[in-house]
């Protein structure tokens, strides 16, 4: 391998890793706030790509119907829960958040689409349509078992992924899509050609990670999410509602997954079931960061991207084997290196 090829592979790996980093950060965010390892994040990324492709083709995406169905189920479950707890006073609020708001988003997307909007608006529409899915799934699937063990939540999360793959086939069909590049610019750096799309991916990953950092460090809501992640009982005693913190975490995580879906769609052909590998590789990155550190997850995900890039050059057929084999030494190192704090032991 020459240094030129190594440089090209490294840049390619960084770009792929940046996409994984966005999903990995979302995975860590959800896990720390809700204890759910949200396997379907990759599916959310893939669905965003499919949604954007449908919008590009001037078709209303299946995401709209999916959101409407999930909103109806979530509303029904919420009403039953309110009736059981004698909290009917909260009904208008529940109807607004679980029914009116998602339906309004779908309605707005449908109306806007008829005007054949430009690419920038289509990107916003794709993100708008995708973001309600994870919070609605949280209400339907995870909220009733929120106090369950991490293992139970993980098992349900895996099952949910398979359900979503089925729904993906139903709503988006079996065809793969590749959207138009967001930019046709390119530049040369140290003798290596870097495409605008690659730069955009890295810049987007940096910008969204930076925004997330600002959100966590400088807003009360961001701090309340961190507090829920650090100490659930302590945060409840401050009046922070874990369910609301979870919803915000799912919304933010979906946004990150959605952005990664938009970024990867012009580079890779995305199918209804492409999300699993994206999610799983992001998960490997998140594990490198110990599932709790955002910078750790981002660095881990970029590392996975670079490893995958070099592995696919050496042996395309074995690239996934090589990436996932990375998990074994990392898990051994993590289990040997992890120190359990006093509070963790108490819990």
């Amino acid at each position: 391998m020459t240094s030129d090829i190594a440089a090209i592979l490294a840049i390619d790996g960084i770009a792929t890793g940046a996409v994984y980093a966005l999903v990995a950060i979302g995975t860590v965010l959800i896990f720390t706030v809700t204890r759910v390892i949200f396997i379907p994040f990759g599916d959310i990324a893939a669905f965003t790509a499919l949604t954007l492709a449908a919008l590009d083709a001037k078709r209303f995406p299946g995401t709209g119907a999916l959101v409407v169905i999930l909103a109806c189920i979530a509303t029904l479950i919420e009403i039953i829960s309110l009736l059981r707890n004698g909290e009917l006073r909260l009904l208008p609020r529940a109807l607004f958040f679980y029914l009116a708001l998602p339906l309004a988003v779908v309605g707005l997307a449908w109306l806007t689409m008829r005007a054949e909007p430009p690419l920038a608006i289509r990107l916003v529409l794709a993100l708008m349509l995708i973001t309600p899915i994870a919070p609605l799934l949280d209400r339907i699937v995870f909220r009733p078992i929120a106090d369950g063990t991490v293992l139970l939540l993980l098992t349900v999360s895996v099952a949910l992924h398979f359900a979503l793959v089925g729904l993906g086939l139903l709503f988006f069909g079996p065809e793969g899509v590749r959207t138009e590049p967001l930019t046709s610019l390119s530049t040369e750096f140290a003798g290596v050609l870097i495409s605008g799309q690659t730069m955009l991916i890295v810049i987007a990953a940096l910008v969204f990670s930076g925004l997330l950092y600002l959100f966590f460090d400088f807003t009360l809501v961001g701090k309340s999410l961190r507090a829920t992640a650090v100490n659930r009982t302590g945060s409840r005693l401050m009046g922070i509602r874990p369910a609301r913190a979870g919803t915000i975490a799912y919304l933010l995580g979906s946004l990150m997954a959605g952005v990664s879906g938009i970024l990867i769609a012009p580079v890779n052909t995305v199918f209804y079931d492409s999300g699993f590998l994206i999610g799983l590789k992001a998960f490997v990155g998140a594990i490198v960061g110990g599932m709790t550190s955002y910078p750790g997850a981002a660095i881990g995900a970029v590392g996975v991207g670079i490893l995958e890039s070099f592995a696919s050059f050496e042996s395309s057929a074995l690239k996934d084997v090589i990436v996932f084999s990375l998990l074994i030494p990392i898990l051994i190192w993590r289990s040997l290196a992890s120190l359990h704090s006093e509070e963790e032991i108490e819990e």
Partner: protein, 237 residues
């Protein structure tokens, strides 16, 4: 004085075991009420039920409203606050962020800075360490932070679970001085303590909890001279 908080015939069970049985107590506005008793008597369980972290049977009334079916967060929004035995601080976050999160439940956010300044005036040590992570504080400082964080919520009733636990005698005196001074601010306090003497010296009224039941109650100044209590809890002979 009007009644701030009352428990009537409250029973709390862990599985099928009754940890607290038919307990009734009340706290008047601006009063410090203490619950003393041996380890395992159910004191912490009582406070956990009062804040809603544990389910209970019986009646819980706060400022005239039945709060028995309310969530923890709804109770906190009504300014019923608990400083738990484990403190439950956000150890990875700074002292300043811990204090700021104490005010999370307040809808009117205009006076937050003033309240924060008041907490720093009360605990200058916290101001010195405002950028330090809560997990790196000493035991006494952690207790100050837990108290300061609760004060950020402008509580009407502050429930304190073993505030002196694990602290050096000098710090314990400082903590109890602070608790006494909170009464002057109009904060009602329900204090659960194993350090019976310090608790009764600070409180207006006391209850004695043994094996989940109230076995004795009365003005704190009377209880502190009670022969049985002196023998059992106050270190006398």
């Amino acid at each position: 004085m009007s009644e701030m908080f009352s428990m009537t015939d409250v029973t709390v069970c862990y599985d099928n075991v009754e940890a607290v049985r038919n307990v009734s107590l009340s706290v008047e506005e601006g009063q410090i009420v203490t619950v003393i008793g041996p380890n395992g008597a159910g004191k912490t369980t009582l406070l956990m039920a009062a804040i809603g972290l544990l389910a209970s049977r019986g009646r819980l009334v706060f400022q005239g409203n039945d709060i028995g079916r309310m969530s923890v967060e709804d109770r906190v929004e009504r300014r019923l606050c608990l400083v738990p035995e484990k403190r439950e601080l956000f150890s990875d976050m700074s002292v300043a962020d811990n204090l700021l999160l104490g005010s999370y439940s307040l809808r009117d956010r205009s006076g937050i800075q003033k309240t924060l300044d008041e907490v720093y005036d009360r605990f200058p040590r916290l101001k010195e360490r405002q950028r330090q992570a809560a997990g790196t504080l000493s035991g006494g400082e952690r207790q100050m932070l837990a108290l300061g964080r609760a004060l950020m919520a402008k509580p009407k009733l502050l429930m304190l679970d073993e505030p002196s636990l694990g602290l050096a005698p000098l710090i314990v005196r400082e903590i109890f001085r602070t608790i006494a001074s909170l009464r002057d601010l109009g904060v009602s306090i329900l204090l659960v303590e194993q350090n019976a003497r310090a608790a009764l010296e600070t409180a207006d009224y006391g209850y004695v909890l043994e094996t989940g039941e109230i076995v004795q109650s009365g003005p704190a100044k009377d209880l502190i001279h009670d022969k049985r209590l002196i023998t059992a809890y106050l270190g006398g002979h």
